[in-house]
């Protein structure tokens, strides 16, 4: 399996990457390349130029900012799951990251690459949505910050505009009393999510004051925030009964995905089960 002929340039800075992209509309940004290169090998994707941003120092960092954490787009999955500041704040990020691909993929694949690719079964998007993250992008017209809920727009489709690249992901400071988890039902071959559910729950004195539930894999349109499930929990006691009741409404109205491992019916059922399991985890039950 050999890609079609392609030029390769390594960008030294974000601005260089953006101008290279502007000069070569047929170019693709390359970070870890673990989504793009397999697609190029299968000749499903044949850009004329690859602009490698993986070694731009200004894109690879993880830093605490305003009680939250900012992650440079070229940070690898392994950078993220082994970071103590993320470990202490965002269980969902750690659990999602640990279930991406395998060791080798996590050593190379990047957060920015994954979310820009927006595979509808990828793990990060659900976690970012549930954690109320935002995504910084930069392009010829400058930088902007997009809430995760508005970034993932569909099947391999994001709010990135032509010429823009992802530069940073910002995770806001977790609320006091909150906990987040990620639970995944894996496709047995690719190990992508058939259903991935990230849940973040804030509890005050036994009562749920905030709950955010996001899914990946469930919908052909990619990751989404399941507002109804979260809303049904606010003000309720953090108990298995309330969770189960709320989870039973999971993925209602979603454009369900299907494949030979999971029909729409089964996927929807799994969404309920995994919503329940994720919420139970987030409530410490």
């Amino acid at each position: 399996m050999i890609p079609q002929a392609v030029d390769y340039k390594r960008a030294g800075s974000v601005s260089e990457a953006i101008s290279l992209l502007a000069e070569n509309p047929d170019a693709k940004i390359l970070a870890g390349g673990h989504s793009l290169i397999p697609a190029m090998k299968l000749r499903l994707n044949s850009p004329s130029l690859l602009i490698d941003i993986a070694r731009i120092p200004e894109l690879r960092y993880i830093e605490v900012r305003d009680g939250g954490v900012a992650i440079g787009a070229a940070s690898t999955h392994h950078d993220i799951i082994s970071n103590a500041d993320i470990q202490s704040r965002y269980g969902a990020m750690i659990e999602a990251g640990e279930l991406i691909g395998d060791t080798q993929v996590r050593n190379v694949g990047t957060l920015g690459g994954s979310i820009a690719h927006a595979d509808p079964s990828a793990d990060w998007p659900a976690a970012l949505i549930a954690l109320n993250a935002s995504i910084k992008v930069e392009g010829p017209n400058g930088a902007r910050e997009i809430p995760a809920t508005e970034f993932f727009l569909g099947f391999f489709y994001t709010a990135l505009e032509e010429g823009e690249i992802v530069t940073e992901v910002v995770l806001p400071a977790p609320a006091a009393g909150s906990r987040s988890v990620y639970r995944k039902f894996m496709q047995p071959a690719s190990r992508f999510a058939i259903v991935g559910c990230a849940a973040s729950v804030t509890i005050d004195g036994g009562t749920i004051t905030d709950a955010t539930v996001a899914f990946t894999g469930v919908s052909a349109d990619g990751a989404f925030l399941d507002e109804a499930v979260g809303a049904a929990l606010v003000g309720k006691a953090a108990s298995l009964e309330t969770i189960e009741a709320a989870a039973n409404a999971a993925a209602e109205g979603a454009e369900l995905n299907e494949d030979h491992y999971a029909s729409k019916t089964y996927r929807k059922h799994l969404a309920k089960v995994y919503a329940k399991r994720a919420l139970a985890g987030a409530c410490g039950l």
Binding site: I2, Y8, D102, Q104
Partner: protein
């Protein structure tokens, strides 16, 4: 054509390469290091696993150009001279290989695992090797090979 300079198994190499040249093909065809294998098209099987700057990566899913400036270790460079790496010893002692095709990738992945976690549980070994497919051994003896290398089997001998 990009020019790359890499340090492979301790030796610095410089070549002009096609942009599309995969790292695994650079190692196998340009450098003649055929111990790194290609078993699939989808970065699923792990037969092409090498160490890039000290960590296990799948060399079939990277371009040679991406490795410019990197330090690479392949299975051929794992032993110290005539002294086998503990994982190489473990695979032989515990019969962790049969046809041998997945073995280099399996060993390179396991080496990264043990570097990060010198005393893994059985479950951690199994999860750590999830990116490598073996069709011969049923993994039983591969797990034992890693345990051997971690010094966990000495009491039984």
């Amino acid at each position: 054509m990009p020019k790359i300079t890499v340090t492979v198994n301790g030796t610095q190499r410089t070549h002009d390469v096609e942009g599309r040249l995969l790292l695994v093909h650079y190692l196998r065809d340009v450098l003649g290091l055929t111990g790194t294998h290609v078993g699939c098209d989808t970065s699923s099987c792990g037969a092409c696993t090498i160490h890039l700057d000290g960590h296990a990566v799948k060399s079939c899913s990277m371009l040679a150009a991406q490795a410019d400036g990197a330090t690479i270790t392949t299975i051929e460079g794992l032993a110290s001279g005539d002294e086998l790496h503990p994982l190489q010893v473990g695979f032989k002692e515990e019969h962790g290989l049969q046809c041998g095709f997945c073995t280099p990738g399996m060993i390179m992945c396991a080496a990264d695992l043990l570097n990060r976690n010198p005393n893994p549980t059985e479950q951690e070994i199994r999860e750590g090797l999830e990116g490598n497919i073996c069709r011969c051994t049923g993994y039983h003896n591969i797990v034992r090979a890693v345990q051997h290398a971690a010094g966990q089997l000495t009491e039984e001998v």
